[in-house]
């Protein structure tokens, strides 16, 4: 049981390049999330999904797109990377069954945009 995994762990991009971050979970969770973490800012929600085939915008969605074609995977795309997108990206998943929204986090992807 790997929990939540993220690929890649590190990436360096040049301004204008594109890339996709992959998140996978093996807990059969319905809900998945992408966050970015910047120093002194805590975690901010980029996009989230409440089920296969559905996505929604979070607090800071501009410049990102997402897809949830399979329940276990949640992809985050950057179409044209900008230096402001240099950050650490975390994926999380949860299963709301009338209880609290305890989210399980992946190890993160450190992205640098030059």
């Amino acid at each position: 049981n790997a929990g939540v995994t993220q690929t890649p762990k590190f990436r360096v991009l040049k301004t204008g390049q594109s890339m996709t971050l992959l998140c996978a979970q093996d807990m059969n969770h319905e809900y998945m999330y992408w966050y970015r973490q910047d120093p002194g800012m805590g975690l901010r929600l980029i996009h989230y999904s409440v089920g296969e085939g559905t996505t929604a915008k979070g607090e800071v969605p501009d410049g990102y797109n997402v897809s949830r074609l399979k329940k276990q995977n949640f992809l985050l795309g950057l179409e044209s990377a900008a230096p402001s997108q240099t950050s650490v990206y975390f994926c999380a998943s949860s299963q709301l069954l009338g209880g609290p929204n305890e989210q399980f986090f992946g190890p993160g992807t450190r992205l640098t945009v030059l």
Binding site: V4, Y31, G40, M41, G42, L43, R44, L45, Y48, V50, G58, F90, A92, S94, L96, G99, P100, N101, E102, Q103, F104, F105, G106, P107, G108
Partner: protein, 115 residues
């Protein structure tokens, strides 16, 4: 709407002394509250959660937190700090109303433990 304020961005304690990390929240609905810990270059790990059962919540590694509705606080404590407690701690709120799958994070408190 919900929000979280962590009152200290950095706390420094000596090994073996008590730890207090302060958190205030606001929420339109009955909240669920969490503390997560992040060790350097790692992901986030759940320390403990409050879900409207007992107001004093015990977590892993000797941490506990007390929910005080009248003060809208959820402070994290530990009687005796260990070197391995050095990390960043996040207070998090999730409301039980519409959109309850979304979490709101505080900006974090970095805990340093001096030998």
């Amino acid at each position: 709407a919900q929000s979280v304020t962590q009152l200290d961005s950095h706390v420094s304690v000596s090994e073996g002394t008590p730890v207090l990390l302060r958190c205030n929240y606001s929420s339109s609905y009955s909240p669920s509250l969490f503390w997560y810990v992040q060790h350097p270059n790692k992901g986030l790990q759940l320390l403990l959660k409050y879900t409207s059962a007992a107001t004093l919540v015990k977590g892993i590694n000797g941490f506990e937190a007390e929910f005080k509705k009248s003060e809208t606080s959820f402070h994290l404590t530990k009687p005796s700090a260990h070197m391995s407690d050095a990390a960043e701690y996040f207070c998090v709120v999730s409301s039980s109303g519409a959109g309850s799958y979304q979490l709101t994070f505080g900006k974090g408190t970095k805990l340093s433990v001096i030998p």
